[in-house]
């Protein structure tokens, strides 16, 4: 778990605002094959992987709340789903401490799929009567593909943005563990 310093909190807050504004003002208006990328689950995934489950869940709640407020959507829906996404991504880091370039891509794709399915379930629970169409499924799949392509560059950007405020960067931690004989960050607890 990463200690929440004021600098880290400020950078996370800026990431929430910047991410949501860029999403609504630009990314949402760039349709590719009838759908668009959705940065929210990718941002939450990146924070979960970099900072752990607690930070991931809190960041997911913040992003979801901000998205719902900014777009006049039903409050709490995005928060609820993104809390789960952030917590899940954080737990992957804490339990497995995965290394490798493909990890953000795989976790990003999973996060997007979980977010899409979770959001759809919530909409049906809230009483959307419209039937599910092939077009909806196509859009979800297109978003999944776009997000998978964006997962790695976005993860790198987020990591670079948070690096000055991250006391426990995964790469440095691993390097330290190997040189000092530690097997895993869990061994320190």
């Amino acid at each position: 778990m990463v200690a929440a310093t004021p600098q880290l909190l400020a950078r996370l807050a800026a990431l929430v605002v910047g991410g949501v504004v860029v999403q609504t003002a630009a990314i949402s208006q760039l349709p590719v094959a009838g759908a668009n990328a959705d940065l929210s689950p990718l941002l939450v995934m990146a924070i979960g992987l970099l900072c752990g489950a607690l930070a991931g869940a809190c960041f997911g709640f913040g992003v979801g709340l901000f998205v719902d407020v900014a777009l006049l959507q039903t409050l709490g829906v995005s928060s609820l789903v993104l809390v789960a996404v952030g917590y899940g991504a954080g737990r992957i880091r804490e339990a497995r401490d995965p290394e490798g370039t493909l990890v953000p891509i795989a976790v990003g794709a999973t996060a997007t799929l979980a977010f899409s399915i979770g959001f759809a379930v919530m909409q049906f629970l809230l009483g959307v009567e419209a039937p599910v169409s092939g077009a909806l499924v196509r859009q979800v799949i297109t978003t999944l593909v776009l997000n998978t392509l964006l997962a790695l560059p976005l993860y790198v950007l987020v990591r670079r943005w948070l690096l000055p405020a991250l006391p426990d960067d995964p790469r440095r931690r691993r390097r330290r563990a190997y040189t000092t004989g530690g097997l895993s960050p869990l061994s320190r607890t």
């Binding site: 668009n36 607690l54 409050l75 607890t189």
Partner: protein, 288 residues
Amino acid sequence: MYDKTVRRRRAVLGLLVACSLILLTAYFGESAGGALHGVQRGASEVLNPVQDGASRALKPVRDLFGWFGDTLEAKGDVEDLRAERNSLRRELLAEEGARVEADRLRKMLELDSALDLERYEPVTGRVIAQSPTVWYATIRVNKGSDDGVRRGQPVINEEALIGEVTEVFSGAAQVTLITDTTSKVTARTSRRGSFGVVEPASAGNPTDLILNFAPSSVNLDEGERVVTRGTVTDTDRLQSLFPAGLPVGEITRIENAGTDTQEVHLRPFANMRNLDVVQILTRPGAGT
């Protein structure tokens, strides 16, 4: 130590989930004038200038993206454009963006004069934000109550009706598109004059609408145009939000024609995935 960390993590997770559920329940249960809706509107009021600024700042990025899309479609232009120097390419990008915008505005003026929309006092605005999820077909435009925009006013683009204003701020307005699952538009077919209600055929499909409640006894044809009905009554109470005659879409197919389960499918004239400049008709009742 480990147990304490796990307990703390789970407690925070439970707290966040509980907060989300409380927000969700309270928001869903209250009326549109409730406290949470008020907070949301207040926050949006603050965010609108930020979104407007970001939308303007990021327009070159969108234009660049659109340019790539156009280039892929017009393969013949690719070779010429590749030969352009970088400075000329930037210039071309700016010109391309201006041309598309001018083309849109010209079409909008043509639609205005063809349908005599000037009497509805249209206010032209630009899309500054769009919902990223397929479950909400909404956009935000940079015109609000300061420009005479009110809730319920119809919104068109250069092609046809696209939706109605559902929330107004001082400098911006939220528009719910006719492809949103909550949208309903009273309409009639242009040739047969058959009445019905246009609704989205399914969630997340911006190219398929349904004309519900159209009488099965009337033979409708594929390709027939559908326009807003613009209900007029002696009292003001039941008047339609939309003036009569605004183009909506055209019939693409009719399932179970002539039966009680008849489904008339339409394709909207407006491309809902590519909205940039729109007009809000601020006096929709002026034509009656």
